[in-house]
């Protein structure tokens, strides 16, 4: 999953990004690689907080993935958390877990997927930071993440959560907790020299506390980060110093 890193399945991948280097491309590429590898044999669930289904469809169409067909075949479920998020922050602040209904919905979808399809589903939560900023407590969000992780472990599904870093160099409490749960951490950063037409940003891959020591995944430190250049529908990866402007 997610070439060029070739990540295994059944992991918790934490993706962090910053405003100059958004990680939309990483989420799309994970979804595209899962669809192309598994075809209609596995389930994909996207929990979207900010982006609309139209944007996902437009971007994935450039990789020859028809999300409408996936939705019709019930192998792709798009859950827009926005209405639920706005209602729950207005009322019932003290009445139970605000994400209980969402968890039940995802659990039932994964059960159906395991019953009708093969295991190895993909669950994407995009993104968790916005939920914190609009009023959800860190503890409720962490409960949701732990519950999703446990659910995915039980159903052999891959979990991907996106988190925005707004203070580079300073780790916020939510990130610390998420990092303690993750298997791998995909760190997407902008260039220190600013925007460039040939290099959009750089990606580093770190092992999380739950990664297997004998894993065949090749991690990349920030000093040896892979650089990428965005196009309309995908990203092109290259080693540092081998972009079009250099060679």
């Amino acid at each position: 999953m997610f070439s060029p890193f070739d990540l295994p399945e059944d992991i918790f991948l934490l993706i962090t990004d910053e405003l100059p280097s958004p990680a939309d491309f990483a989420l799309c590429q994970c979804l595209v690689s899962h669809i192309k590898e598994k075809q209609n044999s596995s389930l994909r669930v996207v929990l979207s907080v900010s982006e609309s289904l139209t944007r996902w469809q437009s971007i994935l169409a450039k990789s020859n993935v028809n999300l409408s067909q996936q939705i019709a075949a019930k192998t792709f479920h798009f859950i827009d958390i926005t209405p639920m998020a706005l209602v729950r922050t207005d009322t019932d602040k003290v009445h139970g877990n605000p994400f209980h209904a969402l968890y039940e919905q995802i659990s039932s979808l994964l059960e159906e997927g395991n019953r009708d399809l093969s295991p190895g589903a993909l669950v994407v939560l995009d993104d968790i930071s916005s939920l914190e900023w609009i009023g959800f407590s860190t503890s409720d969000l962490l409960r949701l993440c732990r519950a999703l992780r446990a659910l995915c472990l039980k159903d052999q599904a891959t979990l991907i959560i996106r988190h925005h870093i707004v203070t580079p160099g300073e780790l916020d409490p939510l990130f610390r907790h998420l990092h303690s749960l993750c298997t791998y951490h995909l760190d997407i950063q902008p260039l220190n020299s600013g925007r460039s037409g040939d290099v959009s940003g750089q990606i580093a891959l770190h092992s999380g506390p739950n990664a297997f020591p004998q894993s065949a995944v090749k991690t990349r430190q920030r000093s040896a980060a892979l650089q990428y250049r965005l196009t309309d529908g995908t990203a092109i990866f290259f080693e540092r110093g081998s972009s079009r402007g250099v060679l």
Partner: protein
Amino acid sequence: MLDCVPNQFQSSSHGQVTTSYLTLERWLDSPVRHISSSQFIMSSFKRKSSSKTQSLPGTRPSPGSIATTITSTGIPSLDDILGGGLPLSCSFVVAAPDPHSSYGELVQKTFVSQGLACKQDVLVLGSDQDALDWVKGCMWFHSSASSNPSLEEDAEDQKPADEEQKIKIAWRYEQMKQFQTTVGSTSVSEDFCRTFDLTTRIPSFTIEKALNDGQLFTCNVLDTLDPTSWSECSSVTQTVLLNIEDVLSQRSSKILNTPLRICIPGLGSYAWGDLRTQDILRFLYQLRAILRRNPLACASIGLESHISTDTWGGPGWIQKLGWMCDGLITLDAFTTNPSLSTLFPSHHGLVHIHTLPSPHTLLPSSDRFSTLRGLSASVAEGGNSSGENNLAFKCTRKRLIFETMHLDVEGGVAERRTVPASSSNDVLDNYNSRVSSIPVPKTGLASVEVELDPGSAAKAVPTPSPSHDDTGASVVEEAQAPKPRLKKAKKTVAFRSDRPDLYDF
């Protein structure tokens, strides 16, 4: 081509080819009747364009994605930064941290004026006593304005400065056109982007007509709420959003085919009450969700100066704002920093781009099509693969212009200077005085000799020496006669072959 021509027009000899070609042209001009595809093959390729975009006034397809419809902000250079214009269903936030200027408000007023000029519907949210009073202060265009007045007037503004400092240009560059730092509205029609004049106010009859036709909506919801009675300030934002949703739902029920511009000037002003960071983020988040559901609407929000910086919202505040909207820029004026305004006298502030709209693509269309940002000229296309251009803005007498920012001629790193610049200010003088107090060893200096041209030295006018009268005040001789301008001596630099030391800059 001749094989495709109908039989009666075919010819085998060269002399009759021309005749056949002309006949073919006349044949093409005549109405085509019952022509089979085998007899005449005509390219049926048509550029895929949505008919819906052609009927929406003041809009056009985005150059980056045919699925994206864009509309002008009223400022051509800002449209260029956005990649052609503001996409519909997107929100655009302008932060202006300077409390002593109103450049952010200028952007909002131009946004409203452009909407009214191109027959779009406009909703203005009142943050003051009356939103209508705010609209009355918007700018307008001259009815007899030329098609390209922006660049012409910029040239006129720069003309007096250029006459005083005539820069000697090498002969090989004389034929090149003057270096342009901004873009005009020449490439788009006036239906898409008008050229507004800051000295001209919108006519009152235009506002009245827009109100009567239902083109202009004003929402004074903030005036109807009592700030002291709010139990939670989030109810203010909720009330505003409910009003916006009501307007949009009424429009959708009428199946209107006109884009709606929502303008929210002064978000966070006193009329909004004591908003928290969570309230503002939630407001922007909800507004964006509303716009996603209404693809014919777009919004431009101006932030108050005190909430446009990280000092109010805490570390990462601007980044959070950028994640909660589709586009965010900061107009960082030089008003609070006199040194910057002295260093860059031709600009009034810096432009910081935090995020740009990309509703249907990963890459914002601005990265590929913006001339000002300079990211589009990549190596593969034969351009220079440098980083993004520094952007600044300036407010001339007639318009607000965004342009690239470059170092002045006398301040460029390419110029090797041997004497201090004549236009040095107090800041630089103080710096030089501090630097000159540091003793520099002789061996640390470059071995450079500067000789004056003998011809120009003879023409130098002797400076009058001050003489003192009985009272001790200094009196300058020849004070009444006008002093001739001193010609700068031609500098020459000599190299010493016996000491080929490295230059120390």
